[in-house]
């Protein structure tokens, strides 16, 4: 009688382990499939095999524009359409956008980089810093429409 009771409890444990094992197997599959499918939907630059030039054309259909919001010497409301090429801002003559009268801007101040996933802005080691919505950049940051970018004494508003 005691033996029979022992063997039923062993069978019960084994049944529980069997169910647990199969459940965990499918949990594993579910986790991998779910995580992997989510990742497949995310944009991935490396999926593209087209040559680099073509990639630049395709990557940002509408890059948006920088509009001068406040500046001691630029006209307010002046619009600078962004192309798909990266754009440098600074006091030096080699910049795409030259702020030669701004004493607070560094020679090479900031980089505006339209990428596939949006327009990114990066400080190029300026003395006085680059600010987005009043916050000094420490790493590159993606601009959202309406963000205010401050370089030297000039404020630009990012619009799409």
């Amino acid at each position: 009688m005691k033996m029979a009771a022992a063997s039923t409890s062993v069978d019960g444990v084994l049944l529980a382990l069997k169910i647990a094992f199969l459940f965990l197997l499918y949990l594993f599959i579910w986790r991998v499939v779910r995580a992997a499918s989510r990742e497949m939907r995310a944009p991935q630059d490396s999926v593209e095999l087209a040559p680099l030039a073509e990639r630049h054309e395709k990557r940002a259909p509408r890059a948006g524009a920088l509009v001068v919001a406040a500046s001691p010497y630029l006209d307010e409301g002046e619009r600078l359409e962004l192309s798909h090429e990266p754009l440098t801002i600074g006091r030096g003559p080699l910049n795409d956008l030259q702020l030669d009268r701004d004493d607070f801007a560094s020679g090479r101040h900031a980089l505006v980089d339209p990428r596939r996933d949006g327009v990114w802005v990066e400080d190029l080691g300026s003395t006085n810093g680059t600010f987005v919505n009043g916050v000094r950049l420490t790493s590159s940051r993606r601009l959202a429409p309406g963000d205010v970018l401050r370089v030297g004494e000039t404020d630009f508003r990012y619009e799409r």
């Binding site: 049944l15 197997l25 995580a35 490396s46």
Partner: protein, 435 residues
Amino acid sequence: MSARTRELTILILVGLITVTGFASVYIARQNELSPGSLSYAGIFFVLYLAAHLVARFTVPDADPYLLPIAALLTALGLTEIYRLNPTDALRQGLWVVIGVAAFATTLITLRHDYRRLESYKYLFGLSALVLLFLPALPKIGQTVNGARLWVRFGPLQFQPGELGKVAMIVFLAAYLHSKQEVLAQGRPKDFGPLLAIWGCAMLVLVATHDLGSALLFFGIFLAILYLATNRLLYVSVGTGLFLIGAAGVYETTAHVRSRVIIWLHPWTIQKLPCHTPHGVELMTRQQCGSYQLVKSLYSVAQGGFFGTGLGKGTFTLPGGGNLIPDLNTDFIFSALAQELGLVGIAALLLVLMLFVVRGFHIALLATDGFSKLVCAGLTFGFALQTFIIIGGILRLIPLTGITLPFISYGGSSVVANFILLAGLLLVSQRANETP
């Protein structure tokens, strides 16, 4: 969450699965197993943590799912081997140690740029040929079940074809990548290499009497050729040539012929002459030539939907002998099918498929031709090998004894598959890392 952290969380799940499996086997067979053998599961988990740490340092951005999938497959294999023969499980555990070491070595030596392998392509081609023909050499080659696949050096016994497969894929990827443009034109004289490799595959077939390996190598070759040139003509001509060659070998080799007969007609009603150690006796075929296949089919059927549960399957005769020979190598699939049932074995097939999907996904992401071909070739090799052995066991194609990747008992297979895994991770790292 970074790729490696995700890998770690999934590995912990694999650890949990391993513990559940081992506990089930141990409880079901506690009068035969010593409690100490439960530590194999722990050792196994520590090994994969070590592999994970190596990956963290060498390939931080690589695919996070491949290593856990390989770990799960190894865990399933090890659990079943442990259930069938605990001594073999310990030995398999040691092979996994060597496999992880080979994995780590490959990752560390090739972490900067594996593409330099491309310039040693003929070295790889040559070593692949040597490894393939090694078992056919008179002194060291061993014939097991009619096929010459084994090599013995003193106490050490291994199947060099497994490593030969990886070397062959690296060679083919590099060679076809360099000849890609010429071959894509499909002029008659470009069929030269195709004929040469076909000749080699046929020689392997004749020398080793093993249809499976020949099919595997030629299949990998055709797949890489197709990927490199995008011409279906090569695939159809190649398949045709292979069928002609296989038919020729079928006519001339008794071993291959008997494999096909066993596949088509495993059961007979009348008794046929059968060669036994005691001389020729009259038996039905299911008692003689197709005994192993038929018993394995019964084993799969016995599992039903949910299986008997790990540790509770029937694999021994009442007298104590093994019901199915080579159960933990070639036939491990039918052992797993009995204990896990249709539900469990379907999960196993899904996991094998996930490995293949991830492999091709990496090949898609790879940015240069050589990486793409190596990655797709390794993945295709894995997929075709899995198909050949499972298809053979389920009587879809003639049965040939090759291993089920990561699952079967066997050192050379485990080591070769770990190197394959390292290769996939290296390609993935290169494709994912930010320039």
